[in-house]
């Protein structure tokens, strides 16, 4: 995971605390741009659990991680990458 290295999704380097749809050279969906999200740990948790419920019409193809403990581990990892 590298800063500025976007793939099918935007780089997740430093994503915790970042404003949603804020990487200039990534092509976000209109739905995500209009959602006005801020990637707080709580918001990330809700999004990772059910992406399509949080951002209906977004590009995210992942259908969600049900395991709350796994989500917490993932968010803790993301918080360590900055």
């Amino acid at each position: 995971m590298k800063a500025g290295k976007n793939k099918k999704g935007p780089s997740l380097f430093g994503v915790v605390g970042r404003q949603g749809a804020s990487i200039a050279d990534f092509s976000y969906s209109d739905a995500l741009k209009q959602a006005g999200l801020s990637w707080t740990p709580e918001q990330l948790d809700a999004y990772i659990a059910h992406p399509k419920k949080v951002v209906a019409g977004g590009k995210m193809k992942y259908d969600g991680l049900d395991d709350a403990a796994a989500r917490a581990d993932l968010i803790a990892y993301l918080a360590s990458i900055h």
Binding site: K5, N6, K7, K8, D25, F26, S27, K52, K61, D63
Partner: protein
Amino acid sequence: MASKMLVRPGIQVFHGISRSRSLQALSALTPFVLWVPTAHALPSFARQTGEECAACHVGGFGPQLTPHGSRFKLSGYTDTDGKGGKVPLSAMMVGSWTQTRKDLSEDAGPHDGPNDNASLDQAAVFLAGRLSEKIGSFTQVTYSGVDEKLALDNMDLRYAQPLTLAGKDSLVGVTVNNNPTVTDPFNTLPAWRFPYVSSELAPGGAASPLMVGGLGQQVMGASVYAFWNDVLYAELGGYHTLSHQSLRALGASDDLGNTPGLTDYWRLAYLNDQRKQNFTAGVFGLNSSVQPGRIDGPENKYNDVGVDASYQFLGTRQHIASLYSSYIHEDQKLNASFANGDAADRTGRLTEFVLNASYYYDQTWGLTVGRFDTKGGRDAGLYAPGPDSGSRLASPNTAGYIVQADWSPWGKEDSWQAPWANLRLGAQYVIYRRFNGAEDNYDGSGRNASDNNTLFLFAWTSF
């Protein structure tokens, strides 16, 4: 996949070996080498998506897919990192050295000796990737150094549309392609199963079911598919042989004959993707009528039905283990071959069982062990005695093992020249326990099954 397949169905690989009339008549349907798929690991996909090869492929190299890779394929090869300027072109080369345990009785190829042959198996260019928002391509043109010929190889041009079916996210699509099973998103069906490369200059059993490469590149067709809720995959397609003139223009062989009517192909599969591991189970089939030599009159009819299953442990991707298996049963009605004197019976059958297991460490080091077993009824017309490729017992029964070790140093995000180049070096050994019906003197000329044991060293690169 050499020429999509390193060994192309219907193409005589023992170029220098004369065969009996009956075997020649069957050649369109039964390759004389282990039929193997064309293997692909295409950096143009990595450049398009911004992802490493290892995101979609086990071992950092194609064609073993992860569920993520399967979805990319079913999405029509169109997923992208959102940046423009991506050119959907790739290239690939495979070079190899082949040694059989005992020299063949004649040269293994038109430009090769009876043993210890080095060859440029294929040099290929691909139109591979996103052509528009919903249309993508995986189309290969291959130069075979063995045949010294350029030909259209596998073609899979598809349109995919995400939509909601019964309240669940789904993908539906249409593909125009030239090889039944090349469209499949798993690694259990003939077009994409292990071995992903193998020698073009070594013997293989006398027969295999028609859908094991017997139609590839000689037919053109279309299929519709749906992938529902990331769980159920269904596909239905129809194919017809191309005209002799079209095949010649495309550089393809015309060994199959004519297929009056439509050759239908169907597939149903279940996927359970638990992220760290996944398994699949499915059924598939193909029905075709063939007029060998494009002669009007009686037809051969082939009815193939198969089951397949796989298990894959992905974990953290440091240790990846995969298990694949398939079983195909083919019923044959050989009215045309019988009338031509090429078959001794009007009916026949073949079964084929394939099982293989692979382990990859650190997306780099791989070991695969496979078992193959083809059985069929005896037919003195179809399987006549003859040096190397014949059968003393009039039997196609061939079985053995394949062991392969390989090294794929690139294909990861931080690899040298990523995402512009990839490489796999490998050593493969094929062990025959039975060949065309027997272990000893199988061909009636004193050759034993183990004489065909084959060491195949290969270097396979794509960019």
